[in-house]
């Protein structure tokens, strides 16, 4: 069944909010799942062959999170498993299940209820190597690693702080056209440049604020998707990759994205990534968006910042980058951030992106980074195959 193609049959999502005290995580997931099944025109109790959630126990606050997911997805007494990773890694699992031919319709869910974690910094701290790195990080916010990476990236590529600030300006502006987004703002580069350093050279405004939300994708074999919908969006390729976790031997060029992109492009038969119309990259830190654009082959090393500052990646530019507003505009959705990037790709390729719709988009790429302190990323290619 290797030649079987894989398509997105439906998507569902909640708004992205900084806090969601009105619902618990089950009710949040239920809202997104119900919408996805309606969008796909399926009944999860009879039509879905496998369910996948993406969650990390420490974000949730209780262990073996897998056990708390079936009810709200319609997955009780059905095959289901949890991926301790980003939503795009969950999507990769679904992709493979469908490729085997043993599964026809697979559901992928990812969410964030991160507002309920009161000691976020301490939990990020816990993801440092406990024997060597954690003792060196006591008493300092763990995002200092972002400052380390940014300085190295600026030095290696000649990118300027102003060019990084341009990412914040563009993404928070783009978010005005995305009704799901929580952190839209009208800023100028000077506003960002005059804001305070959090982890010099990284400024507080360049760090994506966290948000709650849930996203559900219904994935199906191509032949099934074509029979159920007249607007299938195909998953043409998907790759993922992890760097060594040692902070001291980290690449400055997001090698995790380069490798993941190679894998995805190979599957999708993409030789020239410049042909991609819609680009959604991870921008948990402003400089990361530039670094990731270069790792995806969408700009030469050191050029992404210049192109960003010139508006080449804006709504009127040569290629739309993060028309959703990215994590800087929508909020960082933890393990759901990758699916948020993919969601924008799907909505754009379906022509359902409303005021931010990019004309004639055929191919999109969504890229995720699982966040500090590690280097794990995933890349997915979508198309509407005109």
């Amino acid at each position: 069944m290797n030649n079987r193609d894989v398509a997105v049959l439906g998507v569902g999502y909640t708004n992205f909010n900084s806090v969601t005290p009105e619902v618990n995580w089950k009710e949040l997931m239920f809202e997104a799942a119900q919408k996805a099944y309606q969008d796909a025109g399926i009944d999860p109790r009879t039509d879905v062959d496998s369910f996948i959630t993406c969650a990390e126990d420490f974000w949730e606050g209780f262990s073996i999170f897998d056990e708390f997911t079936p009810d709200q997805l319609g997955a009780a007494l059905r095959p289901m498993h949890t991926v301790s990773g980003d939503g795009l890694q969950g999507l990769a699992n679904a992709y493979m299940q469908i490729k085997t031919g043993l599964f026809d319709i697979v559901v992928v869910e990812a969410h964030s209820k991160i507002s309920e974690l009161l000691t976020y910094e301490d939990v990020v701290q816990l993801s440092f190597d406990p024997i060597y790195e954690a003792p060196l990080s006591k008493g300092v916010h763990p995002y200092y690693v972002g400052g380390l990476e940014m300085r190295e990236y600026l030095e290696a590529t000649g990118t300027t702080e102003e060019q990084c600030a341009a990412v914040v300006v563009q993404n928070k502006r783009n978010a005005f056209c995305n009704p799901l987004a929580e952190f839209e703002a009208q800023l100028e580069v000077d506003d960002v440049m005059n804001s305070r350093y959090a982890f010099d050279p990284l400024k507080a405004l360049e760090i994506a604020p966290r948000a709650d939300g849930a996203i559900v994708f219904v994935i199906a074999g191509g032949e099934i998707a074509r029979s159920l919908t007249d607007r299938p969006v195909y998953v043409e390729g998907i790759g993922w990759c992890s760097e060594s976790p040692w902070i001291g031997s980290r690449s400055s060029d997001a090698a995790y994205v380069k490798r993941a992109a190679q894998m995805a492009y190979r599957q999708a038969g993409i030789e020239n990534p410049q042909l991609i119309d819609i680009v959604e990259v991870d921008d948990q830190f402003a400089f990361k968006a530039l670094q990731h654009l270069e790792a995806l082959g969408l700009a030469r090393p050191g050029e992404a910042g210049y192109l960003m500052a010139e508006g080449a990646f804006g709504p009127q530019g040569q290629r739309a980058v993060n028309p959703s507003g990215g994590s800087l505009g929508c909020g960082h959705l933890m393990e759901a951030s990758g699916l948020a990037r993919a969601l924008e790709g799907v909505l754009q390729l379906r022509g359902e992106a409303g005021p931010r719709q990019v004309e004639d988009a055929l191919v999109g790429v969504a890229q995720s980074w699982r966040g500090l302190p590690h280097g794990t990323g995933a890349v997915a290619i979508f198309s509407r195959r005109e």
Binding site: T20, P21, E22, V23, N24, W25, K26, E27, F30, Q34, Y37, D43, P44, R45, F58, G61, P70, D71, Q72, G74, A76, K113, E116, L117, L118, T119, D122, V123, L126, P130, I131, A134, P135
Partner: protein, 180 residues
């Protein structure tokens, strides 16, 4: 004939372990979970001495603890109902061991009960009290023992435990092995 192998060296003491093998850290993790729509109503009900459930008209169940969706039918549940609070024991265990694995003098009765008026296997887990090892049995009618109104905070522990129900005298379960 088996060769006798003399053990060499000695096990490390706790002190020695600390010196060479371990890095000790205590994670600082705190959460504040939103209880959600269904459980907010349920917990507010407990504070008033009421046990509330949600109905699903499709599978005709009453869900306690309540949820806003039925996991069997995958649909939004329909209405709030108040249950009488009485029920029967569906299963139980008598715990003789505490969390530190010490023997407990007075064993703790934990179990699941089905509420009167709700179908089986939709009840709650709780403690049982005022009952002996010999008397407790599956099918025993029970009723809640509430904390006094002023002490209730909107938590499942607002019910102290369930006890055998007056007027519904339990039949003794002769099949169960007597404990010495």
């Amino acid at each position: 004939m088996k060769e006798t192998v003399k053990p060499r060296g000695k096990p490390l003491s706790g002190e020695e372990m600390k010196q060479v093998c371990h890095v000790v850290a205590r994670p600082q993790v705190k959460y504040a979970w939103a209880v959600g729509v269904a459980m907010s109503h349920f917990l507010a009900g407990l504070k008033q001495g009421k046990i509330l459930g949600r109905t699903c008209v499709q599978c005709e169940r009453i869900l306690v603890p309540p949820r806003m969706f039925c996991e069997r039918c995958y649909r939004t549940t329909d209405e709030w109902v108040e249950l009488p609070g009485t029920g029967v024991i569906e299963t139980f265990s008598i715990s003789y061991i505490d969390t530190d694995a010490n023997r407990i003098k007075e064993p703790i009765f934990v179990g699941v009960l089905a509420f009167d008026g709700a179908p089986p296997h939709s009840g709650i887990m709780h403690y049982f009290g005022e009952v002996s090892q010999d008397a407790i049995h599956i099918g025993m009618p029970v009723e809640p023992v509430w904390k006094p109104g002023g002490e209730r905070v909107g938590a499942i522990t607002d019910i102290k435990y369930f006890r055998p129900r007056e007027g519904a005298r339990p039949s003794s379960n002769s099949k169960r092995r007597k404990r010495g």
